[in-house]
Amino acid sequence: MAPSDDVILRTSGLRKEFKGFVAVDGVDLAVRRGSVHALIGPNGAGKTTCFNLLTKFLKPTAGTITYNSRDITGMRPAEIARLGLVRSFQISAVFPHLTVLENVRVALQRRRGGSYDFWRSERVLARLDDDATDLLEAVGLAAYRNGTAGELPYGRKRALEIATTLALGPEMMLLDEPTAGMGAEDVERTAQLIRRVSADRTVLMVEHNLSVVSTLSDRITVLARGQVLAEGDYDTVSADPRVLEAYIGTGHA
């Protein structure tokens, strides 16, 4: 295993039970700094649950999570986000009635520090507009900046979500099925986007689209029934007979 300063996020013995049902069962995960790490596995393997545990949307039944050598097991979701560990959702999450620009700006507002200033005019936010526009350009949404986010086509919403996440300048991003429900065109665009943004940060993603996984990820962890089934790069993992049986199946190219 890599030396610990090389590992940005580590879990040990992570476990989550739901009323007698064990969804995540003693997962040890180590994500290397600067890598793209994929979490794959059959449906119901516990991937989303893992994500929810990492970002504190669920409380682990047992186990610890360390991020940058710091124990974050007991922290609140918003705190984790402020440490630079930011997630996206399996089902796209934008602020539907805000404009596209405002969506990104909401994230940029975090930079202003405490945004509890209810006595100040929102005009002070105009300063952030340029940065927001830059981010939108990066994901190809500049043309939509004044549209209402809820009206964007699905694929664009995902792009907007990524832009919003990037606006926080996260050190590490967690992406849950970033290409789910996208047409081939959008899948391609999104994959490139992920590749681009992963240049100087760590990405942990859940993904079913094996071609995306194989092209993007440096390392893959396969979960099955809440446990780690296999780990390694794509070739190792895809050659593992247990993975073939539990996940990839036969006859797949």
Binding site: T55, F57, R76, P77, A78, E79, A81, R82, V86, R87, S88, F89, I91, S92, A93, V94, F95, P96, H97, L98, T99, E102, R105, V106, A107, Q109, R110, R112, S115, Y116, D117, F118, W119, R120, S121, E122, V124, L125, N146, T148, G150, K157, T164, T165, L168
Partner: protein, 327 residues
Amino acid sequence: MAAETETIPFEETELDVRARSYAHHGIVFAALAVLLLAAPFLVYPVFAMKVLCFALFASAFNLLLGYGGLLSFGHAAFFGMASYVSAYAAKSWGLTPELSILLGTAVAVLLGTLIGAISIRRQGIYFAMVTLAFAQMVYFFALQARFTGGEDGIQAVPRGWLFGVIHLGDDRTLYYIVALVFFVGLLIIHRVIHSPFGQIMKAIRENEPRAISLGYEANRYKLIVFMLSAGLSGLAGAVKAIVFQLASLTDVHWTMSGEVVLMTLIGGMGTVFGPMVGAAVVVTMQNYLAAFGAWVTIIQGVIFVACVLLFREGIVGLLARLLRRPL
């Protein structure tokens, strides 16, 4: 589940993002100021003051509902408690009106902090019910405590001398003070909505988990709005006690909480000026329907039903849609 499929209860608010410009708000505020100055020459000043107190109350409530997305069913607690406290301070301690009102408001903020801190942890209908539960306890307290005078309330509260110098016995003088308080209150609310804080608030209302994942402590934002709303509601209640020289159980009863919901809806929730119009309509209705005796409730009921079925976005909401401008 998905942010897009979630019912965002208040579609009217779309408007305030669609049209980027709020320049016309300046005009509306100016018109409002003129109206406020002229009002006591047009209508009975005591009536105008009543409208203003409720308008402030409804606007404060709307801040929480229309912009915070939180439907409180216990706002009478703040309105009523503040009203009791300021009445008591003015009557029994002989404090000047401005101090009594400040004291009442402070108590409302305090109470808001307490109730808010607990209830914002719940959402939707549960939030409404927790606030109702607390309001019922406040009601019980008001009924039992000595200083509130039971069902007689605190009567014959002196209007007193503002800052010890301006006598408020004259309705018109008092009116201008109330109008000023109201106007400032409305400006505060407007500013809160259009502040960086307000922007985050909107984001939280639209998609709370996402806002949290961006690092915002949603509960803290909600608590602040709750406190602001409670404080401004308290301000309205405190002023009302001085104007009417009376604080009574009516102000803490749950029907008062219901009434403010009604005013907000009739006027148009999530609009800056709607609650004000709604308050004016409801108060006028109560005032002039009183002569209809037993028919009052029937007429009121019919109006509610008609409102829900025909003008759901409220009067100002409808206007805003017709003008294609957020109001």
